[in-house]
Symmetry: C2
Subunit: 442 residues, 2 copies
């Protein structure tokens, strides 16, 4: 079983920052993050996973409403992971970066640099970004259409992966005597000319320890799944029931095979929001503390975001959620939220409370045994290769998972007790890719 | 006196990598860099300075010629400085980033993140980039014209500095009781709409420890000096004689005053390539080792780059350098090289050998005493506020400067014996800027 630790400071629950033990300013505190990631490393997690958006969410009607939201300012993820890389030894380091608001040469450089710095522990969570707030920081009024974002993303991947194979693994000779720094036959210039990009290369970095940083992707729309089938090595997804998870899992693996890839080379990791206690009652109490801290303004803002920034502020909180127009945001997340509201007959208030912790991801509350039972059944019954685990607030929620849930998984033989390798690929059981230049030669 | 350590691995001399004691693969070795920067910190340097280009220089006729050049692959500088930030305590950390091949929101985020991570030690060396090789990695055939690059750079700075002042210093309340994360009156949304950029903001980072990371700039053309006068806090420059340095120094300070700024708020640091020995003969021997390792192909390539990538491969090496057409590269560097050739009557071969170490920067070879004499006279006679010091090869060249030259400067009372503050601004004697939002309010 593969486990990622999803660690947005101060936690995944929308009210996390208000918890008495939470560090509301943790997003800009390196010592805090170092301690968290060392805890995850003590728990033998495959990787820490940092989500990201290039902007402050603005689906609040004014600064007063915005000021009640708790996750606003934090390190740029590659800055943070670069610093964490040199204070950890084994855990994988996965950061989110957008194909819509970056240039491929810059992204290729940064993740290759992190892979070199961490001796092979870098992962890139590829996103196309889903908010107008980000678009408005990059010369646009609204975000590009869903299809257009994926169109650019596909070419972006060709460029980035091509740049990563600029130099063969043994290209650099460093031969002081002859004055030959590299073997010219082992340089491959990309020379990409496409619809969105024209990038000559080569990258000014040697091929990195993992050959390529691990590609993570979370798109669950049709476009997203096709993209994942072609490029992803880890698929991060939101699934609520085992039945849905099994359908998704099989769909991804079939599509992967359809691209001529081995289905085992892609790991499917549903997100799971976990609240663990020594007893069921203790877990319920922990959850209640967080739920009681949900400000309705913030809950409604979260729901608005999950619905793709569609305005629901005029609707009565204690009435049902009507059918709303689709937006250019995350289509899979919108469907998931609608389904949850309909299937359980929730009012808007009940709905935002029900997503306050998981934000659309599955919610597991209980003892180490009941939580492990659920994770085990999904893992053994074709619903998941592992999980991206989301503590409600930090650091306690992560401590509970590492100290209570992980040992139970280890007892069952489901999870490693020691790291067996040193790279993120080693942990995930992924091959180091062969050198495969796509360029026209030097 | 302020001192920067200019540390491109494996050193500033074009043949550095071939030196028996040099580490030719140091550009991708964190432990190597950590050791170098700790040496500079032991020497109480104001900052380490990392130059950068987003590409491999391609002013070589083929891969065979390119393969003889020794500075090809290295960490992306912000990745490296983020890692160094958490292994050092005092030294400033300045990285180069281009306004031509980045978006301002991304640059504002990264340097603010580094400033938070390092507790106030970040500096940004602003460049507009000067090679077609970089342009060809960013959707262009050739680099934009010099004037166009500066036009974009000026607006870029307005956006970046505006984003850095998105939140007042005390904007974040973290008030768990009331549920108020920040004071809405202290959020300032930029709302920039200009010719090149439309950026709404706010930045998703609190105002950073230094208020703003320190702005460094190296433009020495008219456009470059005007830009520096408006924005720079440190001006990095190449000057060959005290007379020239004095003219430049006064020109910069006058232009700064012309922008309504205090001339003391801008520090002028000429680059200086230093080879130090316990005796004059020892220094000469050290230099000869490096000069003997210069491959003519590499020397000619370096010269080509300094001349703005103009093709000189057809000219006889032992003849003079004729007047050549201006390019869109660094105009100030081109003039400097021509002047050097003319004033000393050098052949092309003599010229590339004479710039092999300094690459257009001043060259000081000698004992700690004679080198300190030169630095002192420029410092006391209005030629410089300090220097960006360039060791020929690493680590020995830096050790020599820290162990031989710095103590001599300290004995003369010209340089600190202990850090007196903790931020890069403290070291440089620069004020923390007042909060000055340029936006339209929240």
């Amino acid at each position: 079983m593969n486990l990622g630790a999803f660690l947005p400071a101060p936690g995944h629950h929308v009210a996390a920052w208000r918890h008495p033990n939470a560090r509301p300013d943790g997003g800009l505190d390196f010592a805090y993050y170092r301690s968290l990631v060392r805890t995850a490393e003590r728990g033998k997690f495959d990787m820490v996973f940092l989500s990201d958006g290039a902007g402050v969410r603005t689906h609040y009607k004014d600064a007063d409403e915005l000021s009640r939201q708790g996750r606003m300012v934090h390190f740029e993820p590659l800055t943070l992971l670069s610093a964490l890389a040199v204070h950890t030894t084994h855990i994988g380091l996965t950061a989110t970066a957008s194909t819509t608001y970056n240039e491929p040469f810059n992204v290729a450089r940064k993740f290759s640099s992190l892979d070199h710095l961490s001796a092979g522990r870098a992962g890139w969570n590829v996103v196309t970004s889903v908010t107008d707030a980000e678009a408005q920081n990059f010369n646009l009024d609204r975000q590009p259409a869903h299809a257009a974002r994926y169109h650019r993303a596909r070419e972006f991947m060709e460029v980035v992966t091509g740049l990563w194979d600029s130099w063969e693994d043994d290209a650099f000779l460093y031969d002081k005597e002859s004055g030959r720094y590299f073997d010219p036959a082992k340089l491959h210039v990309l020379g990409h000319k496409g619809e969105h990009f024209q990038v000559r290369g080569p990258l000014n970095l040697a091929r990195s320890p993992q050959g390529r940083p691990v590609i993570v992707q979370a798109g669950s729309s049709g476009d997203g799944m096709d993209f994942a089938a072609r490029w992803a090595e880890v698929v991060f997804t939101a699934q609520q029931t085992l039945g849905q998870a099994q359908v998704f899992y099989k769909d991804v693996k079939d599509r992967v095979a359809g691209h001529g890839r081995n289905p085992d080379d892609v790991k499917v990791l549903p997100g799971v929001f976990v609240v663990a206690g020594r007893t069921q009652a203790e877990a319920e109490d922990k959850y209640a503390v967080l739920q009681d801290l949900v400000d309705p303004v913030v809950g409604l803002g979260l729901l608005t975001g999950l619905l793709g920034d569609v305005d629901i502020s005029h609707l009565p909180l204690d009435g049902p959620l009507p059918e709303l127009p689709a937006t250019e945001g995350s289509t899979s997340r919108q469907q998931l939220v609608y389904e949850q509201a309909r299937s359980q007959g929730l009012t808007i208030r009940e709905l935002f409370l029900s997503v306050a912790g998981g934000r659309g991801h599955r919610f597991l509350l209980g003892t180490p045994q009941t939580i492990a039972d659920e994770l085990e059944s999904w893992f053994t019954e074709g619903g998941a290769d592992g999980f991206n685990v989301m503590p409600g607030y930090l650091p306690d929620g992560l401590d509970d998972i590492v100290d209570l849930v992980v040992p139970e998984l280890q007892r069952r033989g489901l999870f490693r007790t020691e790291y067996e390798g040193t790279t993120l690929r080693d942990h995930l059981g992924l091959q180091r890719p062969d050198f495969a230049p796509t360029g026209s030669g030097s």
